[in-house]
Symmetry: D2
Subunit: 278 residues, 4 copies
Amino acid sequence: GHPLALIAGPCVIESEDIVLKTAEQVKAIADRLDMPLIFKSSYLKDNRSSAESYQGPGLEKGLKILQKVKDTFGIPVLSDIHDAHDAEACAEVLDVIQVPAFLSMQTTLLLAVARTGKVINVKKGQFLAASDMQTAINKITGQGNDRILLTERGTFFGYHNLIVDMRNLKIMRDLGYPVVLDPTHAIRKYGVSSSDPRGGAKEFIFGLTRAGVAAGVDALFIETHPDCDGALCDAASMLPLQKLEELLKQAKAIDELIKPHLPFDETGLYDYKNYSGK
Amino acid sequence: GHPLALIAGPCVIESEDIVLKTAEQVKAIADRLDMPLIFKSSYLKDNRSSAESYQGPGLEKGLKILQKVKDTFGIPVLSDIHDAHDAEACAEVLDVIQVPAFLSMQTTLLLAVARTGKVINVKKGQFLAASDMQTAINKITGQGNDRILLTERGTFFGYHNLIVDMRNLKIMRDLGYPVVLDPTHAIRKYGVSSSDPRGGAKEFIFGLTRAGVAAGVDALFIETHPDCDGALCDAASMLPLQKLEELLKQAKAIDELIKPHLPFDETGLYDYKNYSGK
Amino acid sequence: GHPLALIAGPCVIESEDIVLKTAEQVKAIADRLDMPLIFKSSYLKDNRSSAESYQGPGLEKGLKILQKVKDTFGIPVLSDIHDAHDAEACAEVLDVIQVPAFLSMQTTLLLAVARTGKVINVKKGQFLAASDMQTAINKITGQGNDRILLTERGTFFGYHNLIVDMRNLKIMRDLGYPVVLDPTHAIRKYGVSSSDPRGGAKEFIFGLTRAGVAAGVDALFIETHPDCDGALCDAASMLPLQKLEELLKQAKAIDELIKPHLPFDETGLYDYKNYSGK
Amino acid sequence: GHPLALIAGPCVIESEDIVLKTAEQVKAIADRLDMPLIFKSSYLKDNRSSAESYQGPGLEKGLKILQKVKDTFGIPVLSDIHDAHDAEACAEVLDVIQVPAFLSMQTTLLLAVARTGKVINVKKGQFLAASDMQTAINKITGQGNDRILLTERGTFFGYHNLIVDMRNLKIMRDLGYPVVLDPTHAIRKYGVSSSDPRGGAKEFIFGLTRAGVAAGVDALFIETHPDCDGALCDAASMLPLQKLEELLKQAKAIDELIKPHLPFDETGLYDYKNYSGK
């Protein structure tokens, strides 16, 4: 089977400098652990709790920075997308286009990204059963694109609380696509600003990651930052970059132990090596 | 205080004929009960469970039909909007622009509709606490628009089940804006197609409506259709038009009974009479 | 149809003096509003969050005080029961024996109380669907007793939060038994001591009560105390006795308005008048 | 640190023959894997969905059979208890007395079992936050007994659905006591009889077990039966005994991998070896 893959990077693009610095370090870690890597950082965050919050550099400037990541480090890149009109521009640069959880039912957006032919990572809506992801899959495959990732990032469980239902990993894997676990968003506490330390419960990142890998996933999605305290978005929930390697070591060891026991066919996370360097 | 108002109409615009026929009947009922009326029908449904489902006539054709409703019956009209690029065109015709529940955190959309100066009806996300609607309010008022409605349409309560938390009506009213209850979406069962009769639990519409009005709301949002069995969207959850008057009679009687007891100031639903006929 | 009935009193028996004083006032209110009354106060609270919390006077002493309420005011009385061994002694005095929500699945307890032939009020477990109350009903009717009340007192909705699902009132009524709404327990915030004012959200009692009556119930269950601040149990959630009449006035007015519209046969709350005075 | 321990056996005592046969096989598996073992089977199930369901042999007969397990195999034994009056008799035979989830707030029961001085396994109520288990702990330690186990067996997540919140394992471990994961009850579907195959989702047992062990637990609680189809209780949710060894192999391997990484002090599951044989 394919090895456990990693999607990681800062929540939002803050500057070319921070992005390149983070990408370099994340790549070094992934290389040491022999994990396929997709670098993640968003050019726009459109669902922040305040219009005054930093939203990112925007489409054009953001994609340029992500292109520089590709050129410099030869790794595939991912950003989420909030507007179907952005799809074609995104496809010029991104290797994986991500549909945010809140938008996982939006037909126009799903069709637009599907048509780009790129790998599409759909995050399961916090308001959806895992089996409902079949509707997103159908919209994408209906456009002739079946390179799909499905990401669990927590389900609404009472006000201001997300829960990771480990059953969802199996249910989504049984839909026939690689499954990604995002523990860093699952531990966000909505209703509290992500710049407030109480806005996230980082003490659960390690446990949820280990649990998800043991249940069975194809990749981890970890938002991480070299200086969480100074981060402009999701400071309360990102994993400090200094702890990433330890987390991945534990995860990889569990993955190698249990993957041979898993009944499902290991199609892995596609051949990302081919996307890098473009 | 202002009387209980009504937002009603078919889920989606199927044809000019059906829309005009429904508008005529809904208006006759609202007139008999002396209820302020806003006619609702969507030009596009962008979150249907299948890309093959009927999505509506689209922006241009849909707005023309809604304009005809205004011209013919002199009543204000509402549609939801899924794309910020549609905001200006919507503002040419719509009296109330509605932000769907899934999109209630999308900053770009909220800012775009806010700038039109129109009344904005924001549906509470199924994944949000009522108090979190303050973030949507702030985004809208930050653009100089404070004509806002907040709609409760159910909260995620375990997979494939929405619950109406009656406390939310008070919490949102305490945020300072009129509150609308939408029982017809609250009884939808996700994961089942809305064309399947099992896709909705219509037997609860009367009880939830009475309960919400007794708790205290400013308006009801009722999706209704003259021929639910033949409807192209939400057949399983819309109220048959034939039952609308009986529902509203019960609601209005309760409203008149309890409004004098409510501690909050009755600002009512703005002066919709002024929007009609444009 | 039968008029809306009332089950009311302090959470736990603190002293004969407080019980009699409260019973007198509650009876005066019920008489003025022409509401059938069952006086409620528990001889033992067995699920308090601390073993040091006041638990009540115990079986023997508590029943004596409740007998005095019957003798003095001629009203039927109710207590909950936690131990099947208490059933026979309870039946000597109580007109209604109440099975607590946490114990609503305990077979031994249900069978023991059923055999007394008394009216049994089963509170729906916070962890049960309304339809699951059929299992409690079957256990009781299997003993030849079909005088059953079913009480909604909130359902677990995320940690430390109960929600009142108004649909449950109809579902339980459709099981064929009178349904009671208990708003005073539904607003308890578990995880906070009931002696801490933050342990309850009393601001929702009026709205939930009105909503439930409008949805359709046979009786209200209201824990009330003449001096909530000094109460030894559930201080944070009981309704101040001073507000009871206003609450019931609103409830009764709604009930009279909607009962004629309800499709279900009004069997009412049995003939409690016959139980009083024994 | 202590090795991962195992609590296992059939839900209820059906006959001496089945109990001894199962105990023999479970012991053989535990011995091969070098896992400390506590044999579990209940003398009475008091919360079955029907009064006609098999409830077990009762206190006296059941304890005799469990004593025979101890005498024959030299392993400690566990049963749950539903009635405080049974506590002393239980203490004559049982090494671990288990408080059922529904009863985890019942003061009288907790105090009675605490006073026996036996190890007490408290299952977290499906309606409780993990942190609320502090109240059960306080009731037990207040009697001078601090030999406590805390078991996660699922939390209510919408009607008829339990979810395992992996965060609870850490929260309860941080309360200072060994934590047990019971995946076999977590996958029960309430509202469906446990004799109906649809009453459980056994396909999730392996994944939940691996996930929980990876998150970090001290013991697993696995209800298992040599002939699930013919079992008299929980047929739909017990693990076939034939699959137990494979499950435990996976669990043990993960446990050995991650325990050295866990920040908490490994006090383990007390010295059960000393309880066996009495």
